[in-house]
Symmetry: C2
Subunit: 312 residues, 2 copies
Amino acid sequence: LRSLLHIPEDFTLVFTSSATEVWERLTQSCVEHQSLHLVNGSFSAKFHEIATQLGRKAHAVEAPHGACVRPDALPTGLHPELVAITYNETSTGASQPQEDYAAIRAKYPEAILAVDIVSAAPVVTLDYSLIDTFYFSVQKGFGLPAGLGVWAFNTRCIQKAEQMRAKGLSIGSYHSLLSLAKQAEQYQTPCTPNVLGIYLLAKVAGDMLEKGMEMITRETKYKAAVLYQAMENSPWVRPFVENQAYRSLTTLVGKTQVPSEALIKKISEKGLILGSGYGPYKKEHIRMANFPTHSKEHIEMLADLLENKTLL
Amino acid sequence: LRSLLHIPEDFTLVFTSSATEVWERLTQSCVEHQSLHLVNGSFSAKFHEIATQLGRKAHAVEAPHGACVRPDALPTGLHPELVAITYNETSTGASQPQEDYAAIRAKYPEAILAVDIVSAAPVVTLDYSLIDTFYFSVQKGFGLPAGLGVWAFNTRCIQKAEQMRAKGLSIGSYHSLLSLAKQAEQYQTPCTPNVLGIYLLAKVAGDMLEKGMEMITRETKYKAAVLYQAMENSPWVRPFVENQAYRSLTTLVGKTQVPSEALIKKISEKGLILGSGYGPYKKEHIRMANFPTHSKEHIEMLADLLENKTLL
């Protein structure tokens, strides 16, 4: 993983049972008072909700679904200990542009910058000098069975947790950031983890390394372009994310002109399974995964179907 | 699982990622001030440690390793909200006798009685009217890959968590007892769980149901008797748990007369893998699993080796 994602030595890599768990552990171990969340869909909202449930003052700045929070919309005069960015908001298909990170960092230089790369990893372009922690789960881009989260954090995160512990605050227990980091020094875990998942992740990461991230990224961009092009030309579906700069490469969301169920059913007859919309968008969106496992041939077949004027 | 273990309808069944996680969730959701832990080895001690790390006043009453805490050794005048019993202390091979549960219940009628059945399940004899919650992980008696915990709790636990929440206390977040219980009503989970583990658990539980718990329990008792008998007769190893009433049926620990490594190595040459001692006992104990998956034939072969005077 370290080689595949070019993760600097300054970052510690640990395992949790999900990315959801990381939302909790990060809050417990690195937020004493307040956090700030860029919310533009269900998953970014859930991180905000968890921080609130843990008794922190969690601020949310919201963007319309299908868009991203603009850095200039973020409040000044606030001193959050953590700022949470969602690289790829899986529920809407919007992706926060890399250019925004530096502006957010400049606005909150003291804060830990956390980036959720669920459903983007391993196809991510991250400037690690601008962020302090990132995390993902393995059932999306790595195509593995669910039940394993991967969390990376730098020494700023460790220092923050140490400061909180030194004050006598509870930073969690067996899966606190410090407990995980201490065991990771010896390639150990604080409790018996999903060993099979870890083993399989190493195998898949090894395969991806052999193919090379450059090739995987190039193919992902090509497949995404094919699908967005098909949606632009389709009588059945339009890209939900209107601003091209916000369009996700790996989880594409379409707003359907017909009940999404009809489109999903028709396309399933051809052997391709689309996702329905997330939450309130169940009936009016389709969601398409564009992960390394999805072949160019299948994506092209899907594009042809979406453009077919006599499909329904 | 409900059929296999005859779990009453009053108990809700949910999934976590480990039994370790249950120690934390149970504390967060059901202990406002203080808990009481019967400690007789490394695992019961870890639950006590977690409750302490979460800022609770966690009382521990200790018994020597290889023994169990006697109910009459428990303090009077204490009002713990939770009493934690370890059915089977995996690190020492000591099992708390069933007869003790009623006495503990009588001493702390207001407390939630929690029973750790890790490494005992499914071979457990539990009077569910005496306890409020129990939990286990699947990599021991169910023989499955690690990374899944099973947690059952009754309405007393739910009411306690609701009382704490009504007071405005944080009872955790996505995996709080109430969040888990709410999703379980619809056979759902608060986050994407170890789906493969859940699927495999259902298959293994189905196989066990077909064989029948009566037969599995009878075989387990027979195999345990064979192994304890062999240790009594062995020149190499003695049962670590001296009091027969405390001897675990499923995780047997022997105190070796020679460095345990020598015995483990010799027996591994015959194709049987013994565990070394846990923690400080690494070099002076062997640990033998007696789970449903271990055949009578293999256990008998191991017994013969332990009794063999010319083995080493």
